[in-house]
């Protein structure tokens, strides 16, 4: 009996063939992709989950779902060009094939949000997973109370989804503010870090804060939220880690005893506050 290679149909590493339906350049470094499966099937994800995007010959990368599951038949991914797989994705056009594994992880607890106010705090590319939540909330708007969105970016050029932001800021059922770290001459909005927007807002006692941004942002934003008396179990965060398998096995995404890919990427601050490895020191 020598070495054998057998097919396994149920392998967790199998990928679903998918097609790029549309590509839109959002900024110098970010592109938005609309992705569909050949038979028009939906992904049926939860807002806040992610997929592994596969380009054969290059590899896989974990990418957040940027659209709401309420939209059927296709989904959005927004990709920043930073390395091998993401650069290869940036080469692709509408009609090209990619592969999808997932969705993976725990998304935002949207059922728990029902009937409550939401404060959504997005830093930079953190807006991508939050867009899936924002679209979900807007598609089910009457199920939620007051919705406030705070957005922080490095410069006005880095702002993602500027057309959508335009409509969000004009909607009466949303309160929206934006700040940039560094303004340019045309910028008329706030200047300063995102945490500085929090002291000025009034929050009800039944508010959930949902925060996604670069690792360094969390400590400052959380400190302000705690000052606003939002309890740790109502502060919801999504963390980024190096990920390979998405299955709780490869070890790359571990945060102390938690696996970001399976136990997260969405966590409550309550789960993380005592973990040495949750936030950069």
């Amino acid at each position: 009996m020598s070495k054998q290679k057998l097919p396994i149909l149920e392998s967790e590493y199998n990928i679903r063939p998918a097609r790029i339906l549309k590509v839109r350049q959002l900024t110098l470094t970010e592109k938005l992709y609309e992705i569909g499966f050949p038979n028009g099937e939906s992904l049926n994800h939860d807002p806040g989950q992610f997929v592994e995007v596969s380009i054969f010959g290059v590899g896989e990368a974990p990418i957040s779902l940027a659209s709401s599951p309420t939209r059927r038949g296709s989904f959005d991914l927004c990709v920043r060009n930073v390395g091998k797989v993401t650069a290869a994705l940036h080469q692709l056009k509408a009609g090209d094939s990619i592969g999808i594994r997932g969705p993976f992880g725990r998304g935002f607890p949207v059922q728990e949000f029902v009937g409550n106010d939401l404060l959504i705090v997005a830093g930079g590319i953190g807006l991508v997973p939050l867009r899936s939540l924002i679209h979900y909330v807007l598609d089910n708007r009457r199920e939620f109370g007051k919705v406030t969105i705070l957005l922080g970016c490095r410069t006005p050029q880095n702002i993602l989804f500027s057309d959508e932001i335009e409509t969000w800021s004009s909607r009466l059922d949303l309160s929206f503010s934006c700040t940039v770290d560094k303004a340019d001459p045309e910028w008329k909005g706030n200047v300063g870090v995102i945490a500085s927007l929090i002291p000025g807002i009034t929050l009800s006692r039944h508010t959930y804060a949902v925060v996604v941004g670069p690792p360094v942002m969390y400590r400052y934003v959380i400190a302000e939220l705690l000052l606003k008396k939002i309890p740790a179990h109502r502060i919801i965060l999504s963390l980024e880690r190096h990920m390979k398998c998405g299955l709780g096995k490869c070890g790359h995404c571990q945060i102390n005893n938690l696996y970001c890919c399976q136990d997260g990427p969405v966590f409550r601050y309550e789960q993380l506050r005592d973990l040495e490895e949750a936030f950069p020191r």
Partner: protein
């Protein structure tokens, strides 16, 4: 519950007979006091008194390089997930390594299940072998309760001087001892001799580290911020040898290996190590275990703390390989003793 015996001077012939029928992998002497599990065709190639092999049997259960998927882009996107496997008899596995295999089984059976591992493992027949003396000063198998067999084998052999007594644990084990009429059923004298071996063993195998297994969770609950991690981190070279040789380290990377035509190729999984700095680095440049001390701490916590929370068991078998291989002489028994001194 069946026990059998085989004369010691017939063992090599028995292994040869096994190897005539199927692939047999056994400990082989590599010189300089080192051993490795390697395929053999004659029983005399195997060494039945050996210290833990350079790499544990993990390399057969979770090969260092393993194809997960094959793809072909010549006409559209064709792909097939695969499992690579090979039937074999793994001969002479010590109790510490049986414990290591049990840990890997736990991880890969946990949902979502890893079919590549689970399918492959079922093709491997395991014949255990008891140590009657310590391998060397690096072992802490008694601390971890792995100096005596706790299952996980088809057949388990204990040397009794002029013969071996074998515990037949599965129906595969039953067929193993049918081979060539080498075995006969054990008698009262054999059981008495086995009892005597175990009694003497209990006298010798103990107190490798001045702590109790039960105290370890408490010690680790308090050792997150100790300076011991910095001290060993300062010496560590981040070579990753300790994780490669560890029977319970299973972290991996997934990479694509295109063929020369660039249109077809394989997606493989390859061993990775949390001791490399890039292991936990993300695209924004943030590295979540930048300091060596935090990576060293992570390795110890993955043996003595996190798996206790998650799987209810320790993931150190006490085999001593990490200490034996470390160029910086970072010694697990010493580190445990140091932690214990600080916190007990």
């Amino acid at each position: 519950m069946r026990y059998v015996t085989i004369p010691a001077d017939k063992m090599a012939d028995y292994i040869t007979a096994l190897a005539r029928r199927q692939k047999v992998v056994a400990p082989v002497e590599k010189g300089k006091g080192q051993f490795a599990f390697e395929p053999i065709s004659e029983g005399r190639e195997a060494t039945l008194t050996y210290i833990p092999t350079i790499l544990p049997p993990k390399k057969f259960f979770m090969p260092q390089y393993e194809t997960l998927l094959e793809y072909d882009l010549h006409e559209g996107q064709k792909m097939q997930a695969v499992v690579e496997l090979e039937e074999m008899v793994l001969f002479g596995v010590h109790t510490c390594d049986l414990a290591g295999i049990a840990c890997l089984n736990t991880v890969f059976s946990d949902r979502p299940k890893d079919l590549n591992y689970l399918i492959r493992k079922n093709k491997i027949v395991i014949i255990g072998l008891e140590c009657v003396a310590y391998c060397d000063e690096y072992a802490s198998c008694a601390l971890m309760n792995n100096h005596l067999p706790n299952g996980g084998y088809d057949l388990f052999l204990t040397p009794l001087g002029d013969r071996y007594i074998g515990h037949v644990n599965t129906y595969i084990g039953d067929s193993l001892v049918e081979e060539g009429g080498f075995f006969r059923d054990a008698t009262g004298a054999d059981f008495a001799a086995l009892e005597e071996v175990r009694r003497r063993k209990r006298e010798v195998f103990h107190d490798e580290v001045p702590i109790d297994l039960d105290e370890i969770p408490r010690i680790f609950a308090h050792s997150l911020r100790t300076t011991i991690w910095k001290e060993i981190g300062d010496r560590c070279l981040s070579c990753g040898n300790c994780t490669n040789v560890c029977p319970t380290c299973y972290c991996f990377d997934i990479v694509d290996k295109p063929n020369l035509d660039l249109k077809s190729g394989r997606r493989i999984r390859v061993w990775d190590s949390c001791q490399n700095e890039r292991f936990a680095k993300i695209a924004g440049g943030e590295s979540f275990r930048k300091e060596r001390s935090s990576r060293k701490r992570h390795r110890f916590f993955r043996k003595f703390r996190y798996p206790v929370d998650r799987f209810g068991k320790f993931f150190c078998t006490g085999c001593g390989r990490c200490s034996r291989t470390c160029m910086a002489r970072i010694n697990l028994k010493e580190t445990l003793a140091q932690l214990a001194r600080e916190y007990v």
